[in-house]
């Protein structure tokens, strides 16, 4: 099988997996305890890294942009630039990349270990569909958690930017807040929510697919985990480019 055929086959299998998992979310049996456990592991478990990432990203954005804009006498635009960059791009993308690293790898490793220890076969032999039992709760948890984590990262990023602007560059709080309030539009907020929804589908599908297609024992688990993180990260970044353009067209902000 050549590279292109393998790629197309992988794409087909991933789309089918996502479709079956999506159907599994709405059909019985519903695995509510598993879904809540996954939301706890994915959402609550990722809080620390998202708080730290969001806060320091906002801070460093201010550190980098304020002196540059000051050269052009446009330092008042710093707050606007920080807020818009975070809500439109950095919040969703960094959040997705952090979740890919933490959650995508965990999902892939867990499912991969279950495959090599025949637990997935055992599950099917006992009359359970692993896609409904394992994939659908993880997908649903990601769909709910990632947008919420992104909003949190945005808020904390703006907070980090505010702390830095006030503490290091003596920007007035009221200027910062009004600049953020006037700068962020509804379109930015819509984009900031749509992107993590798409990213969560990408992360969930890639991680579950890689985990479930694990071959070759424990070495294979390591391989599929690495592949899941690399593939999901790259696809998230590529998808972000096309999503940004598509949202501009759809929302009429070109």
């Amino acid at each position: 099988m050549n590279f292109a055929t393998r790629g197309l086959l992988e794409l087909q299998e991933s789309v089918l997996l996502a479709a079956r998992a999506f159907r599994g979310i709405f059909k019985r049996p519903r695995y509510i305890p598993e879904t809540i456990a996954q939301m706890d592991a994915i959402g609550v478990g990722s809080l620390t890294i998202i708080i730290l990432t969001g806060f320091f990203t906002g801070g460093v954005l201010t550190v980098q942009t304020f002196p540059t804009l000051k050269n052009y006498g446009a330092q008042s635009q710093t707050c606007y630039l920080v807020a818009v960059s975070l809500v439109r791009e950095l919040g969703p993308v960094l959040c997705a990349l952090m979740v890919t690293g933490r959650v995508g790898s965990a999902i892939s490793a867990e499912l991969g270990s279950m495959v090599v220890s025949q637990q997935i076969d055992a599950m099917r032999a006992l009359g359970t569909d692993p896609i409904r039992k394992l994939v659908a709760p993880r997908m649903f948890a990601l769909l709910v958690s990632l947008p919420l984590l992104t909003v949190l990262a945005d808020v904390l990023g703006i907070f980090g930017g505010w702390v830095t602007a006030v503490a290091l560059y003596s920007v007035s709080s009221s200027v910062f807040i009004s600049s953020v309030r006037d700068g962020i539009t509804t379109d930015d907020l819509i984009g900031g929510i749509v992107k993590p929804l798409v990213f969560s589908l990408i992360i969930g599908t890639v991680a579950c697919r890689q985990g479930l297609s694990t071959e070759g024992g424990t070495v294979g688990v390591g391989r599929s985990t690495t592949r899941a993180v690399v593939m999901a990260s790259i696809i998230v970044i590529i998808a972000d480019y096309f999503l940004a353009k598509a949202l501009q067209v759809i929302l009429g902000t070109t």
Partner: protein
Amino acid sequence: MSAGIHTTSPTVSENATESTFLEIDDRNRAIPAIEFRDVVLAFDERVVLDNLSFKVMKGETKIILGGSGGGKSTVIKLVLGLLKPDSGQVLVDGEDITHHTEAQMMSVRKKIGMVFQEGALFDSLSVYDNVAYRLHEQGVSEDEVEPEVRRMLRFVNLEDAIDKMPIELSGGMRRRVGIARALIGDPKIVLFDEPTAGLDPPTARTICELAMKLRDLEDVSSIFVTHEMNNLHYICSEYAVVDEDGKVVFEREGERLCLINSKVMMMKQGKIIFSGTDEALRHSEDAYIQRFLRGH
């Protein structure tokens, strides 16, 4: 009304009422529990099963012997519908499952218990939850689940381990919990995929005894995949009976009784090279079989 009863009830011969073995005249028993008809399966260019045909009758244990990579475990995966054949037919309890969808297979799998090589217990669940898994999935109430789980754990002599996690169990205990999990819901077909691999001889013997109890006391049909000759020896030459004290004991076949409910099938490179009784296997002149039996 009476005609309907005649057509649906098992046909019983005139002297069957005097027979100790009424079930011999049961027409349903003539339907094989498992049947393969000219099954072919290949992974890319490699043929794994080559025109495989065999039957496992009701209450019969079919021991599948063969070296690694001979297609033994693939047979079990086909019965469970975890793999689909490229051609041929697979029948379970008379039902052709060859083209069943995953959803259709779920109901077929309810009739089948599967014992995996390493137990394949769910790491995150306790022994109790592992054994109760099938019942929990079916939404059976906890009041009914617990006595059933305890009954199954008693059957494999592991009731004390009910609250343990799989990580705390030895290899043999894991296999026995795997057997208890496979037997919950009283399936009439049980598949053993090298259940004694890597176990010490006494534990391996215990696993074989469980298989014999299922065959002789529970009327279960089974496929027992193995490459260990001890397993063959135990299962084909001993049988389980309940003594006067109500205890299960194992007796050897001899002049008084000859076991006919255990058959042996040997596979090599996806083909059946032998099918018959263990006695016939031992007298085979095939060089591969003789080498396999001698172990060198």
